[in-house]
Structures are given as C-alpha cells and as structure tokens.
Symmetry: C2
Subunit: 188 residues, 2 copies
C-alpha cells in the first residue's frame, strides 16, 4: 500500500503540482480512506520527501556500483554515469521532474537532507573527472567543478524533453553526448 500511495503521489504531483494536489485526491484515486494515508505518512510533505529520497537514492545506489567497478577507467565511468542518468528517464522521469520542480515545498530539515545527497552525487561525478585529469586522460587545466555542472546540465536537461520511445535510443543519446563531452564537435 505504501508503494501504491507513493506512485499515486508521483502521478498527481507531476500532473497537477504538489500544492494543487490534496491528500484526498491521492486516497480517492486508490479508493482508500485518509486514515490509510496517515498510517503510512505523517503529512503530504512527508510523502513528497519520500518521493525525493527515492529518486536521489536510486541515483546514488547506481552511482556506487559504477564507482567501485575496478575494471572501469575514468572515461568508462563517465560513460556509465551518463548512460545511467539518461536510461533512468524511462522509470524515473516523473520523480525527477518533481525533484527539480517541487524542492522549495520541502520543510527545511528535509530540504537540507535532500541537498546533501544531491551534492554528494555531483561531487562523486566530479571525482571521476578529477581522476581522469590525474591519470592524464583529461586536460590538465580543467575547472572540474564547472565541467561537472556542465555534464550534469546535458544529462539533467534531457528529463525535460527526451522520449525513450523516440527515434534516438538511450544508448545512442549516451554516445552522442559522451563524444561531445570527450572530443567536442569541431572537425578533426
């Protein structure tokens, strides 16, 4: 039931917005009582927090797998990161949009927790870039902080437009973006 309430929350928050959705909208959709909702969540805001946590922890867990793989050099890890984010659009699109759009509706203590995890994810990507610089695989004078934010711009923006069922697959889009980030678009 908890999972069904979360899913219903994801659909309604994405469609109508957090403020515009009431607990009643959620329970009505599932044909359960409000008591059922409050058995699992203290408030609508706690449901929002759990949706946010679910999304960022999905990313962090997948990232951990990538980071600890001893067979991957920094280019491989960068590719795996870009693919992981783009591939997650299929299952996480709505959660991700809620994550980016409804952050200011989180209570301060939830927001802080959320930001820390988000920063950790970004810093981990930056570690990959820095590792590549140390290994002599990426340019020496990179501003690794700005470059990391640029890479995450490319991937995160795709949540707003990429259709995994469209002409370009998530594998292909990963290759297009990895190639641009690694080698640029200038004719060699």
């Amino acid at each position: 039931m908890r999972q069904r309430l979360i899913e219903s929350g994801i659909n309604l928050f994405d469609e109508k917005g957090f403020t515009e959705t009431s607990v009643e909208d959620i329970t009505k959709e599932l044909q359960v009582t409000k008591g059922t909702f409050y058995y699992y969540f203290k408030s609508k805001q706690q449901l929002l927090r759990d949706i946010h946590l679910g999304y960022i922890e999905y990313l962090l867990n997948n990232q951990e797998e990538i980071l600890k793989d001893p067979g991957k050099d920094s280019k491989d890890k960068l590719r795996a990161t870009i693919y992981m984010i783009i591939h997650s659009i299929q299952s996480q699109k709505k959660s991700a949009r809620i994550f980016f759009r409804e952050m200011r509706n989180l209570a301060p203590e939830y927001l802080k927790q959320n930001m820390e995890k988000r920063d950790l994810f970004r810093k981990n990507v930056q570690r990959i870039v820095e590792e590549g610089v140390r290994e002599g695989c990426f340019e020496e004078n990179l501003n690794t902080d700005m470059i990391t934010r640029g890479i995450l711009g490319v991937t995160n923006w795709s949540y707003y437009w990429f259709n995994p069922e469209g002409e370009v697959s998530d594998e292909e889009l990963t290759d297009i973006y990895l190639e641009m980030i690694l080698n640029g678009i200038t004719k060699k």
Copy 2:
C-alpha cells in the same frame, strides 16, 4: 505601473510559486488596489503569460542580433549564444525559473504561443550548428538536433546554480563551456 506589477509578480511567483500567490499579494506589496491590477491584466494567468513572453522575447531579440551579424562565423555565433544565455542569468534568473517551472499553469492558447517561440529559439541555435557542419567547421556526422539540446542543457541548467557574483565570471564560464563543446575534455 504595468512594469512594477510585472516585477512584483516575478518576485512573488519565484519565491512562493504561481498557485500560492494571489492577486492580492501582488497589489498589497505595491500598495495599490485590485482594480489597478485588473486595469493592466485580465487575470493572474495573463500576468504569468506576460512574464513568460518577456523572457522568451528577450532571448529571441538578442538571438536575432547574433544571427544577422555578417562578421561572425558559426563558432563565433555559438560563443555569442552561450554568452548571451549565461550573461542573461543576472537580469533574467527569476523570469527564467518561472518560465521553466510554471509552464503548465499557462492556459492552452498561451502555452502554444510560448512553445512556438521556445522552439524557434532552439531551431535557431540548431541552424548555427548546421551552418558549421556545412562550412566544414564542425564534424560531418553530428546529430544536430541532439547536439543543440545538449548545448542548451549546459546553458539552461546554469540558471539553477550559477552565481554571477561568484568566483567564476560569466565570460569565464562561457569560455569553459565553449571549449568543452568545441574540443572536449580529452587530453590532446
């Protein structure tokens, strides 16, 4: 007065959200009557539309200047585009965030108008990339649509984190991103 109502709307929509802001909140801040508001705008939604239009037309007007400059080749035009967007963060940050966040609160006919202008802006950037391919300055086999969306991901994402008063200036950030997009981060 119209401009002051727009500015007050921008501040409140950005801070509290469109749905959470009433016409009264806006008029109270300016110490004017509701009648004053309705003299300039039919509804709160029309104010939102005008904020959206103001932002996208700011971008389109600046883009036109760049496109018609005969002294610029495609790399120059790409640089000018990236700089224009990053530079606009200082004056347009709040409008841009409202633009991306509150789009679904526009009435269907306003949304359509909005999307058309947004698509025009993106297609114009794509024309620069295509021109570069034709001139032999960019790689032949680029997927110009996906690359354009990637470039706009880098720039648009910066609305969410870039602080023009921070350590990196808008000129420097432009150079960092232009270099990544043109030549990549791999060590040459």
